[in-house]
Symmetry: C2
Subunit: 430 residues, 2 copies
């Protein structure tokens, strides 16, 4: 068995420098089952981070579907095959009526890359509005709307960022009941700038849960004035459901249903095949057709029978195990328990989230974001066998996002461990 | 069992209009094994098209590797795992010494998207030179260097196309022994234009087999003067090995070895996981490091343990079954037999290709490209149970590219069927 330092050295040599791992003491994971992971020494970790193994690590039905189809046939979509048709039929039944058709790709990045160009072709314009603390993927185009790194040659004039929403549950910022109206005015300014420069508005792209922004608590209908401005200018709305989709946020299949709006294009990724690389762009037949005609888009691996078997079995497990409702019920209880910790510890600001994607602000003595303390908490949790992480503009919001089949007793283990960690950090701090 | 027309209607509704299938009478494939495919009526087809199932459809060792790893663990690369390290170690051992490191992605498109930006970051310039009849993928950036569709907003000033090489075996064009020197001069003109406009030269990207260009016959060293110009201007050379890689062209693992040059960055895709969506960018540790540092690139599905198990088992099968040598031996024999048909039929111009990627020009009475006749041949072959296709600027070159484990008796079936088809078409033509 190789040591961590050997593995880290090999990573630097084989994958290049600057390839980070999670946690100060990285975890060498060798096995997974349900919501649990095991490291090379046989130690068990509760996985409260990974949303890709959506229905649980190594779900036997998904594994079986992948095995059966891999043993039978795997080829591209220039031949006829029921797999992709049955899946898209099933998938679109989870959306409102206008979402009838889909393009299947391999990754959320590919899906967003297609969605942006689809909006550009349909609108006849190039301008893209996004938030200022987001991530939608890693292609040349899509990485430009992330805020992590400056694109080659600087930011493009076709991309305009608006502030991320603050919401109604935070100790970090002043809460403003008219936040959405103010954001709508900023959107209008960006639209005007696009129109003045000749770029024009193609679309607004958002994660409807604003996950990377720190999943602010937003009331249903919050986005209405913003979306009105986009639509009035002929722009399309892209909902990037890579993170909130497939029931993650509870009670609804999609984040856009939870916050209450109807996008024009929806993109899907990570959880779609429970780990098999598969992603989708869902829209109306007309929109999909306009894009396909313009770009003659073909994706070699996209929609292959194994990808579709993985995605279909994942979808069926979500239904059979009632996981959309489960995410709500278990998530509500978890958030309630997390709120108890918020009441108990000064270093926690406000708890927020929905379904099985939740967390809490970590604050310093003045209630400001405390990234250092957040890191301590995340690493201490890892030491105690619970894997979580952090996100948000200040990297100061705990990110808790377990596979959906997590049960109450496992939530209790998570919360109790967090209680212990916070207690211990509070003592060492005083 | 659904009829073809039902399936085609469902495709239009669910996948959008303008989603073509191969062949006038599309094939509804339900099962694959080795070099054979079966349709829904139980009819058997010799697969002489698919390069993705590189070691054969549903190879039991690859299926087993996917099954075992899918049952054990599938997660991302922010944890330590030997799978990605062992694979990159094994993969880079097939390259010359400077290729020590890799980034793992999901598709050839993602790989080329990364490679282009890597060249841009390293060179500090943006200009990309490619050929005028090529395809390197479907992201927003990469699709712009394809020649299939005009990019949104027209062709970018960072992309410059040079003519595709003609080579030394063709009836279509005049053969020019100094073709490479002339192409080198054109490359120099493009470089000068890039420098004058302030874009500068980032890279030349080529498929070293010029597959989509119609795989012209080029002597070893053909590219030397072209590459000299690129290097003298500080540009990098990207070899897109998605099609020729992994032994496809026989005797060598990579197309760039066959034509005799050393690229700076190599991209891999389609055959890498025998159908599992996986791709790679291979280069020096330094080059990979510069890109990673600049873009903090992370790919959720890229390099996951199942992808690496699929890729590793594919690589091992290539070795165990000696497929690189096999591709050469069987391919040489196939080309010899194809040459006999060229001698026999006026409608075939010249046979060309290497290893298990070969074909022949289809000509009209004057020796010009005959796309119509090519279509007739491809569709008649399908009717007789052999799947091939066409490519090249005029869609007039037969594209024959079976899984590598094809045996001589199957090649004989291919050639005999082609003989029958050509004979029948010649009779109906006269």
């Amino acid at each position: 068995m190789e040591t961590h330092s050997t593995l880290l050295e090999r990573r630097t040599n084989l994958l290049g420098p600057s390839v980070p791992t999670f946690y100060e003491d990285p975890v060498h994971i060798v096995r997974g089952k349900g919501v649990w992971l095991w490291d090379n020494s046989g130690r068990k970790y509760l996985d409260c981070y990974n949303n890709v193994p959506h229905v649980g690590h190594c779900h036997p039905k998904v594994v079986e579907a992948i095995y059966n189809q891999s043993s039978t046939l795997n080829t591209h979509t220039r031949y006829l095959h029921e797999g992709i048709l049955d899946y898209v039929d099933h998938l679109t039944s989870k959306f409102s009526e206008k979402f009838t058709s889909a393009i299947i790709a391999c990754s959320g990045s590919e899906a967003n890359d297609v969605a942006l160009r689809m909006a550009q072709v349909i609108s006849g314009n190039k301008g893209i509005i996004c938030t200022d603390n987001t991530y939608h993927g890693n292609t040349s185009l899509v990485s430009q709307i992330g805020s992590r790194t400056v694109p080659i040659g600087g930011y493009s004039n076709i991309i305009s960022q608006i502030p991320s929403p603050i919401g109604t549950k935070t100790r970090y910022d002043k809460i403003d009941e008219n936040e959405n109206e103010k954001l709508a005015n900023i959107v209008q300014e960006k639209i005007d700038e696009f129109q003045e420069s000749g770029v024009g508005l193609a679309c607004l792209i958002i994660c409807p849960f604003f996950a990377n922004e720190g999943f602010p608590t937003l009331r249903k209908g919050f986005l209405e004035p913003i979306i009105s401005k986009v639509r009035a200018a002929g722009g399309l709305v892209i909902a990037d459901e890579v993170q909130p989709g497939f029931g993650r946020v509870g009670n609804n299949w999609w984040g856009h249903q939870s916050i209450g709006f109807e996008p024009d294009i929806v993109t899907l990724g990570k959880p779609m095949g429970n780990g098999y690389p598969v992603a989708a762009i869902v829209s109306s037949n007309e929109n999909i057709g306009i894009f396909r005609k313009r770009f003659r888009y073909f994706n070699t691996f996209g929609g292959n029978p194994v990808a579709m078997a993985a995605a279909q079995s994942t979808l069926k497990v979500i239904e059979e195990e009632n996981l959309v409702q489960h995410a709500y019920t278990v998530g509500q209880r978890a958030l309630h328990k997390l709120n108890n910790l918020v009441a108990k510890y000064d270093c926690l600001g406000v708890a927020r989230g929905s379904g099985l994607f939740f967390g809490a602000e970590v604050c310093d003595g003045e209630g400001n974001p405390d990234a250092h303390m957040t890191k301590l908490i995340v690493n201490s949790m890892r030491e105690k066998g619970v894997l979580i992480n952090s996100l948000g503009r200040h990297k100061s919001i705990l990110k808790i996002r377990p596979p959906l089949p997590i049960e109450n007793q496992e939530i209790d283990f998570l919360i109790n461990t967090l209680d212990e960690v916070l207690d211990s950090l509070a003592r060492s701090h005083n």
